[in-house]
């Protein structure tokens, strides 16, 4: 029995591509006898601008941050990361471009004739206050611009930030209290203590923990989980104002959420709010010793992609797996196997020595 086939679709539909010879779709056009030369490489488009009084020429599409760094100027950042779309929310990287308000250098592009001041009084004041406001509300012990390495402390000193100006810290929130914050409402404070985001650590799976007392809401994990890397969308910023927090839908535990445990959020978290459970437990037991650790770069053994792994090893055990942001293969991203599937490496018979 032969089925009636639908009439063959005519593509393109007649009349759509006006001005184009319809034959082009069926007959390739005749080759030109002499192949034209490749077009000349376009001149790099440069703009002239002034950074801290210094005239410079920089590529047109550069961010102000990159242009300043190329001049050797150190600008602190928290929410910016080379592998993610700049969100421009922490406001630590602000510079003065002569406008009424300051400009976030991480997301703003350079422009012809622009004058940038990276360390004037207005800028220093804003950075000092941003650091004070953050430090008075968030646990910044481990925070650093890129990795949770505590290096933010140097900037606190550089800008003379004193978070105690806002008074003693208020008591930590009860479990679930911050997750129940309703948009547009809060308990009216008495001012005696400075409210913080302190709350119990969320430990709901074997692989990683979420310590939102350390969360500065830089949006990096949300970006890494979403369009910038993983496209899983397990987390989003929920609530608003000081009640804003990173959350799964209805604060579901991670294993009931869409989380695929790729751990790419851990790889971008600058404050240690997201942490390997192995690292967290060692820190809790006061057995996390960075001076006794080695870092080994290797290739993931699982599939053929060949992702670069960066193993943190302590006492001859893998305690954390990262991937370098500048790896051409991964840009810092891994899957659940490469990130967490390392137990087999250290599943040795009882008493056996490594290498035996």
């Amino acid at each position: 029995m032969s089925e009636q086939l639908p009439p063959k679709a005519v593509y393109p539909p007649p009349g759509v591509y006006t001005g184009v010879d319809p034959d082009i779709f069926t007959n390739s056009p005749a080759r030109s006898p002499s192949i034209p030369a490749a077009p000349a490489r376009p001149e790099p488009k440069l703009v002239e601008m002034t950074i801290d009084g210094m005239p410079v020429s920089v590529p047109r599409d550069m961010t102000i941050l990159d242009a300043c760094r190329a001049q050797g100027i150190d600008i602190p950042t928290l929410c910016a990361l080379s592998t993610l779309t700049p969100e421009g929310v922490c406001r630590l990287c602000v510079v003065d471009t002569g406008g009424r308000a300051l400009t976030p250098s991480c997301s703003a592009k350079v422009a012809q004739g622009m004058t940038v001041q990276t360390e004037n009084e207005k800028v220093r004041h804003a950075r000092k206050l941003v650091l004070e406001l953050l430090a008075s509300s968030v646990d910044l012990d481990l925070a650093g611009p890129v990795r949770p390495d505590g290096s933010l402390r140097a900037y606190m000193e550089r800008y003379g930030a004193d978070p105690s100006r806002f008074g003693p810290s208020a008591r930590p929130a009860a479990p679930g209290e911050r997750d129940a914050a309703e948009a547009g409402h809060h308990h009216v404070p008495d001012g005696a203590a400075a409210e913080t985001v302190a709350q119990p650590v969320k430990v709901d799976n074997d692989l990683y923990i979420r310590d939102y007392s350390k969360c500065i809401l830089c949006y990096k994990c949300v970006e890494a989980c979403g369009v910038d890397a993983q496209n899983t969308f397990a987390i989003s910023v929920a609530g608003r104002g000081f009640g804003a927090r990173v959350s799964t839908e209805f604060d579901l535990p991670l294993n009931e959420s869409a989380c695929v445990f790729c751990g790419n959020c851990i790889n971008v978290c600058p404050t240690g709010a997201l942490m390997f459970r192995s690292e967290y437990e060692l820190r809790q037991a006061d057995r996390w010793h960075e001076d006794a650790q080695t870092t080994t770069r290797t290739i993931c053994p699982y599939c053929g992609v060949g992702c670069t792994l960066e193993l943190t090893v302590q006492d001859n055990r893998i305690v954390r797996v990262l991937s370098p942001l500048d790896s051409q293969v991964t840009s810092g991203n891994l899957c659940v196997k490469g990130r967490f599937g390392f137990d087999f490496v250290q599943a040795r018979p009882e008493g056996a020595e490594p290498g035996a």
Binding site: V89, H125, G167, G184, H185, P189, A192, N231
Partner: protein, 639 residues
């Protein structure tokens, strides 16, 4: 996008609400993939999604409203169903729903009342109302077991002339949404009960009875538009004289003459006239409207959008409400003129969720205009297409901000964008967009009719035309006043009947929470953009709240600090944490427990203010300290 959606079923009511909103717009669900009946045989061979599905993201907020209206909260089941229908991740839907104060992500009883405790209502005794409700219904948002009613505090509801005001939301099919005042706790409780019994006469309390013009109606209207019916009015000329629900009546009173003129003159000429008129944006930013139109017209990208900012949430401001409720056809016409001038096809009215009567009147106006060919594929048979959609805000002041409004319409969290591109280049949906305030748009009608030169003769050289001021607080006749630019603050207060009880003025708030306070030494100040700038204040959207000599202004400042903390979107650090620290600081001053001396606290307040002003992303954070830092320095405020 491969979504993982929890296997929780939406209730029939939730499904009904979601599907009856979405089906007419995107068609019914076609299988298990997009929220319909699961059919293993078919679903296993077809995957739906991709760009087509994701392009409906802008329907997310209205869909959430549909659920909230029907069942009173957004449950996990509802989120799962919406996620399938719109191909949006549940976490993102939760992120959006939890952003808006009028949407609830925890179970709530069907009947809720949102009681305004902002500046004007505070003076009118909102705290007594709240005490009464708390006694009867328990703490805000936490009803007693089995209770069908609950209450919430609310920022300004835009009913400042009739405080204490409240917004009733009673979930059901159909839902009841009414905003009115003044009310006592007893009246509120009765009306909640009435609403639960399905008595729709709750709506009758809302505005002046009926819609047809009559002496009685005019008298009632004068309660909030005291000048209604006076011949000097230009913006409010039809208020009280024309039935706001009748297009026929509008047409008989000069309606659609401006659009006719505009079509005859051509788009370039219309823009020229608006530029000549030098009309500045009335929403607060005072940007020249003509320049905006010209820039949007010049951008080579289509389709273009007109967005009317009707998210009038600035505390103390209620002038747009008057236009929306009493002359909605004028706004429809003005948006059509703007669309014709810039070549836009899509119009959105982003209307604050606290204005149910305005929404009903606007929807009626749009529907009637469409039925008569004044909106649609061929407007007035003039060969251009334009249509308008209302998008209801969810109770978020930030969504009145120039880019947060686009994010909100696009179905995202209402977070302002880091200003990279101008609206007129890449605004709503990254397309050229003209964003105008209600009052600005309505002004353009008389510009088209009389020409920019004539318009320019009104007002002062820096502030042309007439301006609406929302006057409230301690004045005898609070309401919306239309005056020519140049009137002094003192004369405006006199126009509003003077200070109640013949008391002296202690302070006046100009421009709302984002504005500033002035003392009695500034009453001579002309209310113009240029004079305000000289005095270091802002006209903003034209809120004027008067406080007499006996007012505890410090308490008002604390309420403003509370407001900014609640309304900050939370994106950037200076605003998210700065607004918290600012409120704590004021609490210490009120409790007379400063850290160090009062001067130390004031210095810290200024430090906070400078960082918020310089480093915040948007206007909310940049102005969140202005009212407080100006108010606290008025003599007698900080005793």
């Amino acid at each position: 996008m491969d979504l993982r959606i929890a296997d929780i079923a939406a209730s029939p009511a939730e499904r009904g609400a979601i599907d009856s909103y979405l089906d007419p717009r995107i068609g019914p669900a076609r299988g298990g993939w997009d929220g319909g009946e699961r059919n293993i045989a078919a679903d296993g061979r077809i995957a739906r999604g991709g760009h087509e599905a994701r392009s409906h993201r802008d329907l997310l907020l209205p869909t959430l409203h549909a659920v909230q209206d029907r069942v009173g909260w957004i449950s996990p089941g509802a989120v799962a169903h919406i996620a399938r229908r719109l191909t949006v991740a549940p976490a993102e839907i939760f992120g959006v729903a939890s952003f808006y104060a009028l949407l609830s992500v925890t179970e709530q009883p069907p009947a809720a009342v949102h009681v305004c405790d902002d500046m004007a209502c505070r003076l009118a005794g909102s705290e007594q109302v709240i005490e009464g409700l708390e006694r009867e219904l328990g703490p805000a948002g936490h009803p007693k077991p089995g209770e069908q009613r609950t209450w919430h505090r609310s920022p300004c509801l835009g009913q400042c002339e009739r405080g204490p005001a409240a917004l009733f939301t009673i979930a059901g099919d159909p839902p009841v949404r009414v905003s009115t005042g003044p009310l006592t706790a007893r009246q509120i409780l009765t009306r909640l009960d009435d609403g639960l019994k399905g008595r729709d006469d709750l709506e009758a309390f809302e505005g002046p009875a009926g819609t047809a013009p009559s002496p009685e109606r005019l008298a009632q209207l004068r309660r909030f538009a005291p000048q209604a019916g006076q011949p000097v009015l230009r913006i409010l000329s039809r208020v009280g004289r024309v039935d706001p629900t009748s297009l026929t009546d509008y047409l008989a009173n000069g309606g659609y003459r401006a659009l006719g003129e505009a079509i005859a003159a051509g788009p370039e000429r219309v823009i020229e006239e608006v530029i000549t008129a030098e009309v500045l944006g009335r929403g607060g930013a005072a940007f020249p409207a003509g320049k905006k139109w010209a820039a949007a017209r010049a951008t080579q990208s289509w389709p273009k959008n007109i967005v009317c900012n009707a998210d009038e949430a600035e505390p103390g401001t209620f002038k747009d409400r008057l236009i929306l409720e009493e002359d909605p056809f004028a706004l429809v016409e003005a948006m059509t003129v703007a669309a014709f001038a810039v070549g836009a096809e899509l119009g959105f009215v982003y209307l604050r969720g606290e204005y149910p009567l305005a929404e009903a009147r606007m929807q009626n106006a749009i529907d009637q205009a469409r039925a008569r060919g004044l909106l649609g594929d061929d407007v007035m048979n003039a060969g251009f297409a334009f249509d308008i959609e209302i998008r209801r805000g969810g109770g978020a002041y930030i969504c009145g901000e120039g880019t947060a409004i686009y994010e909100s319409i696009e179905g995202k969290r209402g977070e302002p964008r880091n200003k990279a591109a101008r609206s007129t280049t890449a605004g709503l949906f990254q397309k050229p967009t003209v964003l105008n305030n209600v009052e600005t748009l309505v002004n353009t009608l008389s510009i088209v009719l009389e020409g920019g030169e004539v318009y320019k003769t009104l007002g002062t050289s820096g502030s042309t035309g007439h301006k609406l001021f929302s006057v409230s607080g301690h004045v005898n006749r609070p309401g919306v006043y239309e005056v020519e630019f140049g009137i002094t603050l003192r004369d405006l207060i006199e126009l509003a009947g003077g200070v109640t009880g013949d008391k002296r003025v202690k302070a006046v708030n100009i421009g709302g929470a984002a504005g500033a306070f002035v003392g009695p030494d500034k009453l001579h100040m002309p209310l113009t953009y240029e004079a305000a700038e000289e005095e270091g204040v802002t006209i903003g959207a034209g809120a004027v709240v008067v406080f007499d000599e006996d007012t505890d202004v410090l308490d008002i400042l604390r309420r403003i600090a509370e407001f900014f903390r609640d309304e900050s979107c939370g994106q950037c650090v200076p605003c998210r944490v700065g607004t918290v620290r600012q409120e704590e600081l004021l609490a210490r001053l009120i409790a007379r427990h400063p850290q160090g001396t009062v001067e130390d606290e004031l210095a810290l307040l200024d430090d906070l203010g400078a960082a918020m002003r310089d480093a915040s992303i948007c206007g909310l954070g940049q102005t969140a300290n202005d009212a407080i830092s100006t108010g606290i320095r008025i003599p007698g405020v900080l005793r």
